[in-house]
Symmetry: C2
Subunit: 405 residues, 2 copies
Amino acid sequence: MTRLRRSPERIRLPRGFSFSALAAGIKASGRPDLALVEASVGAAAAALFTSNRVVAAPLEVDRASLLASGGRVRAVVVNSGNANCATGPKGRKACERICREAAKLLGVRAEEVFPSSTGIIGVPLPAQKIIKKLPELIAGKMPSQRGALAFARAIMTTDSRPKLASARFRAGSKQVTLLGIAKGSGMIHPKLATMLVYLFTDVSASPRELQQLLQDACDPTLNSMSVDGDTSTNDTVLLLASGQSGARIRDRRVRKKFAHALLAVCQSLAEQIVSDGEGVEHVIRLFVEQARSREEGLQVARAIAHSALVKTAWAGADPNWGRILAAVGSSGVPIDPTGVKIFIGNQMVCRHGTACSFDQERAHRALAQPVCDIRLQLRRGASAVRFLTTDLTAEYVRINADYST
Amino acid sequence: MTRLRRSPERIRLPRGFSFSALAAGIKASGRPDLALVEASVGAAAAALFTSNRVVAAPLEVDRASLLASGGRVRAVVVNSGNANCATGPKGRKACERICREAAKLLGVRAEEVFPSSTGIIGVPLPAQKIIKKLPELIAGKMPSQRGALAFARAIMTTDSRPKLASARFRAGSKQVTLLGIAKGSGMIHPKLATMLVYLFTDVSASPRELQQLLQDACDPTLNSMSVDGDTSTNDTVLLLASGQSGARIRDRRVRKKFAHALLAVCQSLAEQIVSDGEGVEHVIRLFVEQARSREEGLQVARAIAHSALVKTAWAGADPNWGRILAAVGSSGVPIDPTGVKIFIGNQMVCRHGTACSFDQERAHRALAQPVCDIRLQLRRGASAVRFLTTDLTAEYVRINADYST
């Protein structure tokens, strides 16, 4: 694979889910900013949330509701344009009110409504605007590709394109489908989960089974990427299973195929998020090998992916391996520099922690591609991690320096 | 103080030191790149080095030499344009050869020569160019302000101006002088010491006494700043004491006055380095208060100073306190967001972890100044730290994205 999947592939719909979206006037632009998913017969749910100590109000509500409902979800209500974070007790109350109103209209319990918000931090959520639009939102729900795409567009903030991925497999006479929808472009440095990611499937599984599958699929994908090193306060990954396919996760073959499909969908969404990162011109796939543990490999990958000097060199397609080595040296992992090898593209550029002769022009050309592989070998153990990251461009600064408040 | 000291003040020279500089052809630009300090009767020395695991060759030589000489230095030889880092055993041998040649010409022992290098990482040091110029370098030494300024200019890399600070005090009939010279503009995120900083004094002290004084003065100054979050492989702070003033550090009054002067000089150099940071338009003085310990306060300050989103908001003078709060939340310190207060300039902008009413335009104007104070209160303890940092501008990206290798 030398290209990352940038545009949605064919969207396959799992049974049991309807989608809807509209503009409620939260975004100043007037673009769609309110979205709904209804699981008509309900769904078993598993979720991962941000590790940031500052947690948005909807995440507090989500945690409490999943506990109260025993991991059952009937609807997801998402607004973009406002993160409902650092909004105090009023923010939590606004979120709970929206859930109650949606539950009433849908004829379900409030704790079966899963709320999400994304956008600016610290501004009160205009709950009334959302509540006023709920009847229209619910009336518009469709179990169709058009509905899913409308949902994907309405949850966007600085994203330049909607992000969807799907997979389908057969299990005997049953057909299982998995659909993932994500948003995210800046503040991407997840430590537990990333931004807003929704995964829908018609497999039959308990919340507990789903939770383990979700964790396993996210660790090497949505948890192994960084655009700007900033961990969001609203990161959420939600996996909903309607059971409508009739295929049960307890069947070992179903479980294996489902785990594979889940990993592929999460990987595609991770690639779509990173390649649509704010101002990104080059995506870098870091492979940190010969680490003592997976944690250690991630620590090194994050140090590289968090170095302003390394990321700006990538923006210039500069094969400056010295900056990469310096970032590894300050990662906190007690590496021996003389054991380190670095490869750019398919060329070794550093061995024994020092330069080896290599074709500079070829390394420059490899880095000038939209996607480039950089491989490190630490000579400390047998663990390897794959980590997706990006360059840091003047465009990123322009996007984020706009006087927006 | 509302302005930072950007240009050298009047330079005061301690007795016992001569300076020299010239162009040896290491920098492609032909600018001065080789510099010498001679302590004519020798000096007691204390030094701090980088905490990066990747350590440049001259730092390895420095550590070994200080041990061998018992903390005595007769000369400092610095080249810019090449860091002599990640250059393997050849890099160390090149450095040792330069020290031996300099020692022979000066009539001292090789371990009394303290070498430093700064510039690009991973390129072999052209030792022969340096050795050829040593006789001319030594012949040109002057115990004068002109010499000190020439030294300060020759150690510059991406710095736009030389950085010097000095202090003088009386101790009875004796007069003690302290002169500091620094370079540094990018890769500024010291954890033990920062870039190249040389401090010269004529006080009389042992290496051990100097080491404690140096550590105490650097912790709140040169160790409490960050431009880009990247820790250099060549960070060095060296303090040399010739004893020529006759004032002894064992005298408690001398010690107190000297510690005060050392702190002031280190603070001035830290401010000069940060305000000359690559692409910097705004310097931010962070005050993190009510932390449980100094370490915890620093951890929070570094997380803020390392956030691309916070730093780009500062570039746009955007009083986006939500990004600051999110950076605090992901700092690793178990803060309670509802206990956090944030002030921009002299206005509170966040209380109980949420917005309080404030004048946005006034906060914007405060951030638009060359220097702005941002104060955080964590409600966790009684420790406070002061930390100097900067915005992240498109110009920083341009400087570092140039395809330089």
